[in-house]
Each structure stands twice: as C-alpha cells, then as structure tokens.
Amino acid sequence: MPDLQHELRSYIVENYLFGQGDGFRDGDSFWELGLMDSTGVLELISYLEERYAISLESSEIVPENLDSIEKLTHFVSRKVEDSNASSGGTLATDRPGASQ
C-alpha cells in the first residue's frame, strides 16, 4: 500500500503538477486545486486501467474514488484485490510485466 501510494503520487505529480509536488499533500482534492479537467480524468482512468489491469465502471468514476492520492490508493488497492480474488492471480502491481 505505501508503494502503491508512492507510485500514484509520482504519477499525479509528474503528469498534473509537471513535477512541482512541493506542498501537495496526499489528501488534497484534485478538483479543488483545479488539477484535472474532464480530459485529465480520462487520462487518469486510462492510466489506472492499463497500469493496474483493472476496469472502471462508470459508477466508479466519482470524486469519492479518484479525487486525491489517498482516495485513489484505497480505490485502486480494492479494485486490484477484487480483480485478483476473482481471477485467483497475483497482484497486478506485483507483476514484473505491468507496464505504464
């Protein structure tokens, strides 16, 4: 989980803050900071689906799941667990081939 949170933070800082993450906290709202517009949300969804081999339902594309590093971490962690439970496989985040 700390690794996942760190990885998600790196992605957000690199892609939405252009590497300027000082002062940005893991609980900060992307929406309130004006970090993401609708295209930014689409980019985030594409990244999560490809990187963690998960599929997001429309009902899951809500601020409760995606609006901060902390929320993202909980959401992705749960989705990956669900996905692995149903497939009996290993964590997508642990797979060496999981790509960006």
Binding site: G34, S38, I61
Partner: protein, 330 residues
C-alpha cells in the same frame, strides 16, 4: 437576504432596442474607426448566434458592407445552408458558399477522426455516424466525461466511454473544421478589406466553448457579453426568421445530430443561463435554483463545473503572451 438582489429572470431581460443601438454603434466604431476596414465578414451557420451577428452588422455597417459566408462540409446538416441563405435573403446582403469538404479530406480530418473512434469502437467504418456527448451535469453523480455515440449503417446505436487518446484524437481532428472555416472567412476579409465578426455568446465565450484559432478567432465579438436568452430576445427584435429562432442549437460538427448541451454544457441552455448569471453575480445557489427550476444541490454542482471549466479553458481565451512585456510593444 440581500435587498438589492435581482432575480435571474429579471436580470436577464434586456431592452432589445437599446441593446441593438448600443451594439450597432460599437460595431461601426470598431470596424470603421479602430480597424479602418470597409465592412464585415460573418460565417453564418443558420444558428441563432451567427444570424443575430449578421443582422447587427448589416444594421451597423450597411447591407452593402456585409458578406455572409457559408462553409458546409460532408457532415453538415442541409438545414444549415438553407437557413444561412434565409438570413442572407432576409437582409439582402451578399453571400458566398465555400464547401470545405475537400480541404478537410486533404487534411485527413475525417480519416483521423474515424481512426480515433476505432480506438474504442473497432467496427466503426463506412456508413457509420457519430457524435460525442456528456452526461447531464445535474443528474450525473460521476465526473462529466465524454462518450462517443455511434450509429451503424443498419441503425443500431451504441454509446462507449472514450479514452483520453480517443477523445483527444476526435477533438484534434474535428477542430480542423472550425479552423478551416475561419481561414475561409479571413480569405474573404483580405479580399474585401473587411474585418471578421466572431459569433460567440457569453456562455460560449466564458466557458470556452470554441476552438482556439477556429471559431474563437475574430476581429470583434459583438454578442460575447450576452447570455443565450438575451441573444434570443435580440433575435426577435431584429426580425431574425422564426425558423432560426426555433431551431435547437447544434454544433453542426458531427455526423449524428448533436445539440450544444450534449456536447458541452450538459444542461439545457436556459438553465445554464440562470446558473452562469447566478455564479457571476455571486447569488447563493438556493436563489438560482428557484429561478432555474433545479435543486440547490444541482446548482452547487453546476457552479463547481463552471469554476473548473473556466480554469481548464483559460488557455483557450488567452492571447499570445509576450515573454518580455517591457518596451514599446503594443
């Protein structure tokens, strides 16, 4: 309670005669006085905004100093050209028709768009039609993100959520249309020593509902301060044909009929007017909700959408920024 607060309904009601007089005076001052141009070119789509601008320019500059330009392409509704001609005939102004399909084809507009759609709908091809849509902002619990709606040749309709790559691919391809139209408008402006009139209303201008260097480009924008409902009031006063006033505003960009609210505002335009006015005037959501026929929670959601959209589209409204503003550069 604020004793000087005016209800959105009252605030959006204008005196069309006075507004027309004021705008017409300004158009003449800008075109003749500031720009020293001999008239105006207006790209007319058969929609309410461009029609009103054509009527205003004819009144301000004289009908002999106005050229209305029609730029149909392969996906245009035939109604657009027909209603555009109706505007030209009503005003008795010169018009020109430039079918831009060939330019768009040469630029790969349709091919690039179709390739982008195929990223999420692999079977998309010959005979298919499409449009992109947003969920209604007041009903959707989730983020407002785009989906593509496709119709197969046998009439089957399918809606698929877009990926970022597909969305940007469709957008970048279809934006050729607005930029090509603007290129044609400036061709005629150069030819006649005219200025180009832009046709955005306040909703479009404020929320970035335009293509940068496409329909967003112009020498003057005479109705950019008017809410959509005010444009309709002006249209009635100016005598814009009723069929145009009754037409549902469309983007006329996609092969499937697409309303403006589906594409961008995701809220009926009259409700969006109230919400934008409420937001701009600092009205509490509860007051706006009553006028707009929405709940307070829905208006709060729209207020947040307006704020985030403004931030996201700031780049579109920005003029080129000089790195060094010192010195005698204008």
């Amino acid at each position: 309670m604020n004793p000087v607060a005016i209800s959105p309904l009252d605030a959006l009601t204008i005196n069309p005669a006075r507004e027309t007089e004021w705008i017409s005076t300004r158009i003449a001052e800008i075109v003749f006085g500031e720009f020293k141009r001999k008239g105006a070119v207006i790209g007319v789509s058969g929609g309410i905004d461009s029609s009103v601008v054509a009527f205003l320019c004819a009144r301000a500059l004289g009908k002999d100093r106005v050229l209305v330009l029609f730029t149909p392409e392969a996906d245009s509704s035939p109604d657009s050209l027909r209603l555009g001609r109706l505007v030209a005939d009503s005003l008795g102004v010169t018009h020109a028709v430039e079918d831009i399909s060939g330019i768009l084809r040469a630029a790969g507009c349709y091919e690039r768009r179709d390739n982008a759609i195929r990223l999420v709908v692999p079977e998309y091809g010959e005979g298919y039609k499409s449009k992109i849509v947003l969920p209604n902002v007041t009903e959707a619990r989730e983020y407002a993100i785009f989906s593509v709606v496709v119709q197969s040749p046998d009439g089957q309709i399918k809606k698929v959520r877009l990926t970022a790559k597909a969305y940007l691919g469709i957008l970048a391809a279809t934006n050729f249309k607005q930029r090509t139209r603007k290129m044609m408008e400036y061709h005629y402006a150069d030819l006649l020593q005219y200025a180009v009139a832009g046709t955005p209303n306040r909703l479009e201008y404020d929320l970035g509902f335009f293509v940068k260097n496409g329909d967003g480009a112009a020498d003057f924008k005479p109705i950019a301060h008017l809410y959509k409902s005010q444009v309709y009031q002006l249209a009635e006063y100016l005598g814009v044909p009723e069929e145009i006033r009754r037409r549902v505003p469309t983007t006329d960009t996609y092969s499937l009929e697409q309303s403006q609210e589906e594409f961008y505002f995701s809220l009926p335009l009259e409700k969006m007017d109230f919400c934008l006015y409420g937001k701009n005037s600092g009205l509490p959501a509860a007051d706006t909700a009553e006028a707009a026929g929405l709940t307070q929670e829905q208006v709060e959601r729209v207020y947040r959408m307006i704020e985030s959209t403004r931030k996201a589209t700031r780049y579109l409204r920005s003029n080129p920024i000089l790195v060094n503003m010192k010195g005698d550069l204008e």
